[in-house]
Amino acid sequence: MREAGRAESVTEPRRPASAFSCTLPTMEPDDSDEWLLRGLRSGDEQAFGTLVDRYYGSMIRLALSFVRSRAVAEEVVQDTWLAMLRGLGAFEGRSTLKTWLFSILVNRARTTGAREARSVPIADTGPVVDASRFGPSGTWAEPPEQWIEEAESRVDAEKLRDLLRAAIDALPARQREVVLLRDVEGLTSTEVCEVLAISEANQRVLLHRGRGKLRQALETALGGPISSSSGGGTR
C-alpha cells in the first residue's frame, strides 16, 4: 500500500472544547466508537467490522470527491483504514473517530488526486439564485416555486434520495466536500474546517453555494412549472 505510514496525515484534529466531557470511558460494552476503538486495540476483529460497516460508505463517497475512479477511491479508503490502525496508539479522543478518519482520508485523497492531475476547479463565484429572477430593485420577480409539501408528502423517499445524490454529485468538488461533511454526515462547522483544513469563512461560502445549488435542483425537479400567467401559485 502506497505511503501507508505517512505520519503527518494521521494527526488528530482537535475536538471542540464543548464536546470534551462526552469522552469519559464507560465500562458497559456498547457499539459506540469509543468502545469499538478499545476492541480494535485489543485485536477484536468484530469491532473492526462494525466500524468499517459504519464508515465505509461515507468514506468512499468523500474519496470520490477527490479522485476520479472508483478503484482509486477504494485504495484511498483502504490506505486510510491502515493509517488509522497504525495511528491508533496515539489517538487520544480529542476529536471524534469520524472526524479523525475523514481527516486522514482527505489528506490521502488530496495527495492521490493531485497525482491523478485532476483539472483545476473552475472558480464559482456567481450569485446563489440566478440574477434574472430578481427585478431591477432586487425584489423577487420570479419567486421560489413551492416544493416542500411535494417533497414531504407526495414524493417517494427513495426517489428523493436519488435526486439529492445526483445533485450532490453534480456540485463542484469543493462545494461537494463541504456539503457531504456538513449536511450529509452531520459534522459541525468546526469539524469540517479541521477535516478539510479550510477557514470558517471559506467553509460558509462553499456551503452557501452548495446548498443553493441543491435547493435549485429540488425546485427544478419538484416545483410546479413556471406559469406564464401571473397569480397562479397554488396547486
Binding site: G57, P144, W147
Partner: protein, 89 residues
C-alpha cells in the same frame, strides 16, 4: 453622528441580498445588526421566508442521503488488512 447610525440601521435589505445572507444567518455568522435587518425583511417577505424554509428542507433532505453498503469483497479485503496490521507488531 446619531443620525448617521440611524440612517444606516434603517436601510432595508432587498430579496437579492437576503438570499445571499441565508447561510451566514443559519450559521449564526451575521452581526447583530445584520441579523435584525435580515429578520425584519423576512417578517414582511413571504418569498424570502419560503426561500429560507426551502434551504432548511434541503439540509434536512441531504441528511437523509444514505451511504452505499459495503460489498462482501471489500469486507474481505478490509478484514485481511486488519489481520495484517495485527501481525505487524
Amino acid at each position: 453622528m446619531n443620525l448617521w447610525i440611524f440612517g444606516r440601521r434603517s436601510r432595508p435589505l432587498v430579496c437579492q441580498q437576503v438570499v445571499e445572507m441565508v447561510t451566514d444567518y443559519l450559521e449564526g455568522a451575521l452581526s447583530p445588526r445584520d441579523r435584525a435587518r435580515f429578520e425584519t425583511h423576512l417578517a414582511d417577505c413571504p418569498n424570502c421566508t419560503e426561500y429560507l424554509a426551502q434551504i432548511r428542507e434541503t439540509i434536512r433532505l441531504a441528511g437523509r442521503v444514505t451511504p452505499e453498503d459495503l460489498t462482501p469483497e471489500m469486507r474481505t479485503d478490509l478484514t485481511d488488512l486488519y489481520r495484517r496490521w495485527r501481525s505487524e507488531d
